[in-house]
Amino acid sequence: MSVLDLPSNREEAWRWADLGGIAAAAALAPVARPDAQFLDLPGAKLLFVDGELDEGASELHRVTVGAIASSDHPLGRRAARGWTLRLDAQAIADPVQVVHVATRAENHLGAAIELGDDAVAQLVESFVGAGWSNRFTSVRLGRGARLSRAVRLTQAAGFVSLRDEIVLGEAASFVGTVLAAGDQGARVDAALTLAGEGGYAEFGGALLTRDRLQQECAVRVRHAEPNGQSHQLWRAVAADQSQASLAAAVEVARHAQKTDGEQSLRGLLLHRTATVNLKPELEIFADDVKCAHGATVGELDARALFYMESRGIPAARAKALLTHAFVADALDRIADETVRAAFAADAAAWLERTL
């Protein structure tokens, strides 16, 4: 498959995708392998360098590595191998940490996570290095199973594309958070299906872009059964000539009554050369549902900035504080304190560099 074998921007779902950015990332020259740091958490630790497992630096625990079932998604289908986590009913796993290091060109890796009824797992992934890192993650949650997943993109260059296909069983819960705070382009492409009654899905995060980078999320949550709840909370901050795009859709199937689908998309432009695109989409086929979305774009509140400055806070710092508050909403969804603190620090570092 050639790197140029990508969809076109004329296709609705790829309107804001940075396809040139992917091609450019795949052509990057090799870089030195950066340090890979795991967070101080118990459980499995997986280090992948250019999509290959570094066994010496990894502790697999319940995770296995091998072939995975692939997807027909234009990006997702490129991953044929990957790691698998299978939990039986009732099982509670220690966190699984994955660090993805890119040192050159392109790498593709899959992951399959299957949780039995009432099983619980936590997943933390980090991307570092330079190149095009392409990931396909398939998640299947049994009745009452719970998965939380936090992903941070902090590559120094290149592009990260994520394709997630997540299916929730009855009363299952998925909480996903993505933070893009590096100097890479990004596409967070996800399809969540609430396939059982009473499912609960949160998918959100923050995209922080600068220079000429383009980052986007393209998330579709489908309520196939009644009484489900979904929340999509995204924040985008765009500086310089960058572009951040948030496309989030809620789809409610014919008989998925009593669905509660919520979207909150907010964009913040730091410079007049930056672009924020939003598309909060609703597609509703059931009549007894509560679906609301809010979307705003703007700049920081000038009155608040002045107020802080008049109390002695330098302008840049005041901007950083307000911007950080703007982003914090999206990261608050991370339940684990260690993880949340690490993500908040990445966001803070990005703001420090940018403002």
Binding site: A286, V297, G298
Partner: protein, 487 residues
């Protein structure tokens, strides 16, 4: 008085001169849309050379284009080479008397309180033309009176064919400037074969002394499927224009592809109100109009303002996005829409607000009401250019679902390239609660009246934008459109 009557007769006679219903049937090969067709139309209208060239250019372009493929609209393929789509654009199938009319349409006329003779005109009853001449005779005189008054104010209000002949420079200056020929498939087709339409020019500083309406024109002149409207408001001018009428138009033309262009110069304001109630087809989705309209306004001047208000209840398929290009500093665009779909109707409608000018502002209020097995989509774009400092937009999209077999969709695009912009978008989806229905019924309203009342409440923000007499009819129309939608 005598003069007035003479003028009216002349106007009527003229109408037949232009009407190419019978002529075409005799002159023309029935099948195939070709350059000859375009030449024929142009010749019939005694158009100048530049106009023919303009049409031909559009036609050649159209031949290279592909019909749009819209995901949410289920559009059966249209055979453009079937002569009936263009060669008889003005021909309505005649019926001998109102008794032959679809009883549903008849009932709607009665509910709207339309007089019998006017019903006959709307329905295309054989011989009704004569009746129409008599019945509309007063209207013709009225129209003539209007014309005198408008003329005194300097307002030009003509059919576009007349305007092309009488005010070629004005028309040539603006035609296709807002909706370019290559804009989209249907606009290009319209540019090649547009049959007639309206031209309005309001000169500098003039506040048009009355609401302009196509009502008479549509009834009397039957402007048909490829309408072209061009309205220019010069500096400081104001005009309010009403399009359509609340009665369902019975029409054998399946495809309607109109183009409407509005231009507002410095400090000018145009208010454009539409009530669209073309035949939607029966409850099984048989028949009905495909309404593919391109409507766009250019707010070119400083402080210019264009306000679109639409009530869409008709057509089997509606595909329209009345839009504003807000080029002028501090220009204002507004879009107020109610779209009702019932049975098997499909509506895909919304707006585009393109902010280019500093301090430009826009407001979008869209109320979608879906019933039966219909689909109702709001599709909109708010774009802020890098140079557009201090832009404000507020968008509110509300959907009301009246059945569990219909669909309501909201597809808003927001593209912002200037940090000083303040863009807010809100959307809600709801249904009529059983509590509301029971409460209204316990006060004496039957189920349909209760639904109509609640729906009118839902659509109120939009309805109150309409001129008074239009608003009252539009309210009735909402109720009628939703009949049978509540079990």
């Amino acid at each position: 008085m005598a003069t007035k009557n003479a003028e009216a007769h002349a106007a009527v006679a003229k109408k037949y001169e232009w009407g190419f219903a019978t002529d075409i049937e005799q002159d023309f090969a029935p099948k195939g849309l070709s350059e000859d067709t375009v030449r024929y139309i142009s010749a019939k209208k005694n158009e100048p050379e530049w106009m023919l060239d303009w049409r031909l250019k559009a036609f050649r372009l159209w031949q290279t284009m592909q019909a749009p493929d819209w995901a949410k609209l289920n559009v059966p393929p249209i055979d453009y080479q079937d002569a009936y789509y263009y060669a008889e654009p003005k021909q309505k199938k005649t019926i001998a008397s109102l008794d032959e009319l679809d009883p549903e349409i008849r009932r709607t006329y009665e509910k709207l309180g339309i007089p019998i003779r006017e019903q006959e005109v709307l329905a295309g009853v054989e011989g009704a033309r004569k009746v129409a001449v008599d019945a509309v005779f007063d209207s013709v005189s009225v129209a003539t009176t209007f014309r005198e008054e408008l003329k005194a104010a300097g307002v030009i209000f003509l059919s576009i064919s007349e305007a092309i002949r009488e005010y070629p420079d004005l028309v040539r200056k603006w035609l296709g400037k807002v909706v370019p020929q290559r804009d989209n498939y249907f606009a290009t087709l319209n540019s090649a074969v547009f049959s007639d339409g309206t031209f309005v020019y309001v000169p500098e500083g003039v506040r048009c002394p009355m609401e302009l309406s196509t009502y008479f024109r549509i009834n009397a002149e039957n402007t048909g499927q490829f309408e072209r409207t061009l309205i220019v408001a010069d500096k400081g001018a104001y005009v309010s224009y009403l399009e359509g009428c609340t009665a369902p138009m019975r029409d054998e033309n399946q495809l309607h592809a109109a183009v409407v262009e509005l231009v507002a110069l410095d400090d000018a304001e145009i208010k454009y109100s539409t009530v669209q109630n073309w035949y939607p087809g029966d409850e099984n989705g048989v028949g009905g109009i495909y309404n593919f309209v391109t409507k766009r306004a250019l707010c070119q001047g400083r402080n210019s303002k264009v306000s679109w208000t639409q009530v869409e209840t008709g057509s089997a398929i509606t595909w329209k996005y009345p839009s504003c290009v807000l080029a002028g500093e501090n220009s204002v665009g507004e879009f107020y829409s109610v779209a009702v779909t019932n049975n098997r109707q499909q509506a895909d409608t919304g707006t585009k607000m393109i902010h280019l000018g500093k301090g430009s502002r826009s407001t979008i209020v869209s109320k979608g009401i879906s019933a039966g097995r219909s689909d109702n989509t709001y599709r909109g774009l708010v774009r802020v250019a890098p140079t557009a400092e201090g832009v404000r937009n507020f968008t509110q999209c509300d959907s009301l679902l009246l059945s569990d077999q219909c669909g309501a969709h909201t597809v808003p695009y927001i593209e912002v390239r200037n940090p000083s912009a303040q863009i807010e978008h809100e959307a809600t989806t709801s249904k009529i609660s059983e509590d509301q229905l029971f409460y209204a019924m316990s006060r004496g309203l039957d189920a349909e009246a209760a639904v109509a009342l609640i729906v009118n409440g839902f659509a109120r923000e939009v309805l109150q934008q309409l001129p008074m007499e239009f608003a009252v009819e539009a309210q009735k129309l909402l109720g009628i459109s939703l009949e049978g939608s509540v079990g």
